[in-house]
């Protein structure tokens, strides 16, 4: 872990000192309390550092930008020689180079970057829960290694992106990566202010049998309506995975309304998901009910700390009447900062 951290710091110092340009540092911290209950029993009651992000972005010039983000978190996985946990884990969350100006109003991005599928790439965790595509493992992580090209439709009428990535997510490397790339396309139109419609498709072909995805084909359609204090997202997700001759079909949807009361600093939200992990089986679906609110003590700006309180109640209810629901209450203090831009392009 310390070697990874040292490597990133050396990279950062070399880039800044040798190449000049403009650098900006960012940080984000999530301190969370979770209480989990099932059948009247408390299964978890824990405070933890859910995430700390440390990021530096370097603008070499107005056509070339690089970025590295580290993620630190409370964990009992890493242990010392005596077997005692270190208490923390470290991941490289993203690390890429962005070439701007090669496509109109867009860029070509190379490296560990976002997965451009459905809401995975722009999910900002306003409810404390992953978005539907990531939660049900349709997309194995918010980031992946690869290359993408995309940008903005002129006059702000939407966005587009094409991407080719490993397909196994940012946590897997080496022997855990199959020999086939995953290909993604994402398109969003904003025909009038406040209305967004779009969709994505991912395709990963047959890989060696020993690896998780032999075939993976998913599509999603989404719509957003935002006007004044109201912001509603609706997403449908479907597709198949597994043995190409006998794939498992899956489908689900998410309805996610958010609204603020009087001040934009207090927002309430609700979410309703359904996910069927095998459409050929009866009663194996899951429902998710979520409700809560966020309060912004201050919003993050240049030279200004952003602080917000997030609360959520989550119920996961199996479709089968024999199964009991699992309830979670989560409280999270989230704060972030960014430095001024240092140096000159």
């Amino acid at each position: 872990m310390s070697k990874v951290f040292a490597g990133i710091v050396v990279n950062m110092l070399v880039v800044i000192s040798v190449f000049g340009g403009q650098t900006q540092f960012y940080g984000e911290n999530w301190f969370r309390y979770t209480q989990k209950m099932k059948e009247g029993e408390t299964q978890e009651s824990e405070f933890k550092v859910k995430r700390i992000y440390f990021r530096y972005k370097h603008m070499h010039n107005d056509k070339l930008e690089s970025r590295i983000s580290l993620e630190m978190f409370s964990s009992d996985k890493s242990k010392d020689k005596k077997g005692d946990p270190h208490g923390a884990g470290l991941k490289i969350k993203d690390g890429y180079v962005k070439f701007k100006g090669l496509v109109p109003e867009g860029d070509i991005t190379v490296g560990l970057q976002k997965n451009y599928f459905g809401r995975v790439y722009d999910w900002e965790y306003w409810p404390i829960e992953k978005c539907i595509g990531e939660k049900y493992k349709v997309i194995p992580g918010s980031r992946d290694y690869g290359i993408s090209v995309g940008g903005y439709i002129p006059h702000g009428y939407g966005t587009w992106r094409l991407e080719a990535v490993n397909g196994e997510g940012y946590k897997k490397v080496g022997d855990l990566i199959n020999t086939e790339l995953a290909y993604m396309v994402d398109l969003r139109f904003i025909p009038v202010p406040g209305l967004t419609i779009g969709g994505s498709y991912v395709q990963e072909n047959t890989g060696p049998d020993t690896l998780a995805y032999q075939v993976r084909q998913y599509y999603t359609g989404l719509a957003r309506f935002a006007k004044g204090p109201i912001d509603i997202w609706v997403q449908y997700l479907g597709g198949q995975k597994g043995d190409p001759d006998n794939p498992i079909s899956q489908m689900g949807y998410m309805i996610f309304p958010k609204f603020h009361l009087g001040t934009p600093d207090l927002e309430f939200f609700a979410r309703y998901d359904y996910w069927d992990s095998d459409t050929d089986k009866e009663d194996d679906g899951k429902f998710l009910y979520l409700g809560g609110f966020n309060y912004y003590f201050s919003r993050r700006e240049k030279n200004k700390l952003g602080v917000m309180l997030q609360t959520a109640f989550v119920r996961e209810q199996p479709e089968s009447s024999d199964s009991e629901p699992t309830d979670k209450i989560m409280l999270q203090l989230r704060w972030g900062w960014s430095t001024p831009k240092l140096g000159e392009i």
């Binding site: 109003e105 406040g194 935002a226 006007k227 109201i230 609204f259 934009p264 119920r315």
Partner: protein, 275 residues
């Protein structure tokens, strides 16, 4: 399960009712303006005057930068976003996706005059020559028709909006030479040029005085008229962005800035009036 669904529905209905009642209660005489530090003096001085004329109105003005202003317009935390540049496609897309229709009103222009000591015999420069002087490729006045004296380049500090314009329009994204003197205000640049016969500097057009000589650039003299007509090239428009066409108090305030009285304030704080 049914009870839970009913409860959820009830919370949703109650929240929508509260949202609309609280929206209706919003004070109509309060205006929040956020954004460009370049536009800040215009917004501050005109807000002071406007509040004197309308004592019941409260206008809160703060800087942060053009990007911060547009982000605040998107978040709904300001009514007017000040910007010293046109809104970017990326920002328009974000605005539109969140139901915001950004409409910009040009309220003034920011023109930059190139100044030298009155004793300097050079009267005119091209943009290419100017760029070469600040990049360090031309280091003597004799190379642009003057005396065989070294050129002392004076610039604004990198955090200033004036530097930003100069860098974009003159340096075309390039860097200033390392030994250029970087000063913190228009006034400091003008004072330094008055005291140094071989110096060249740049200031907002509102800071020109008889103590310095302004150079003709690409054959055009920097004046309010040549900036507004677009003939003089080292200039940019300054904007106030609103969600849709300005209405209510935001419209009254922007109309005030565009009025004869408002435009006089624009000129007084060092910018070029557009009317």
């Amino acid at each position: 399960m049914l009870r839970l669904k009913k409860l959820g529905l009830l919370i949703l209905i109650a929240s929508f009712v509260t949202v609309y009642s609280s929206e209706a209660r919003k004070r109509p005489n309060t205006l929040t303006i956020t954004g460009s530090t370049t536009v800040l003096p215009i917004a501050q001085r005109t807000a002071e005057e406007f509040m004197e004329l309308h004592p019941k109105v409260n206008i809160s003005v703060r800087g942060g930068g053009s990007g911060v202003g547009i982000a605040a317009l998107i978040d709904g935390t300001c009514s007017i976003a000040d910007a010293s540049r046109p809104i970017k496609t990326k920002e328009i897309a974000t605005c539109r996706s969140k139901g915001i229709n950004p409409v910009g009103t040009v309220i003034a222009k920011d023109g930059i005059a190139i100044i030298v000591h009155p004793s300097n015999s050079v009267k005119e420069l091209s943009l290419e020559q100017l760029k070469a002087i600040y990049a360090g490729e031309i280091s003597k006045w004799s190379e642009v028709g003057g005396k065989t004296k070294p050129i002392v380049a004076i610039s604004r500090d990198v955090a200033s909006g004036t530097f930003e314009v100069f860098k974009k329009l003159v340096l075309k994204g390039g860097k200033t030479k390392e030994d250029a003197l970087m000063l913190a205000s228009n006034k400091a640049v003008a004072t330094a040029v008055v005291g140094a016969p071989d110096a060249i500097g740049y200031v907002g057009i509102g800071y020109l005085s008889s103590d310095v000589k302004s150079l003709v650039i690409e054959g055009v003299t920097p004046t309010n008229e040549t900036v507004v007509s677009g003939e003089y090239k080292i200039a940019r428009p300054l904007y106030m962005y609103t969600n849709g066409e300005p209405k209510g108090l935001a419209k009254e305030f922007i109309d005030f800035i565009l009025s004869e009285e408002g435009q006089k304030i624009v000129e007084k704080v060092g910018f070029v009036p557009i009317k």
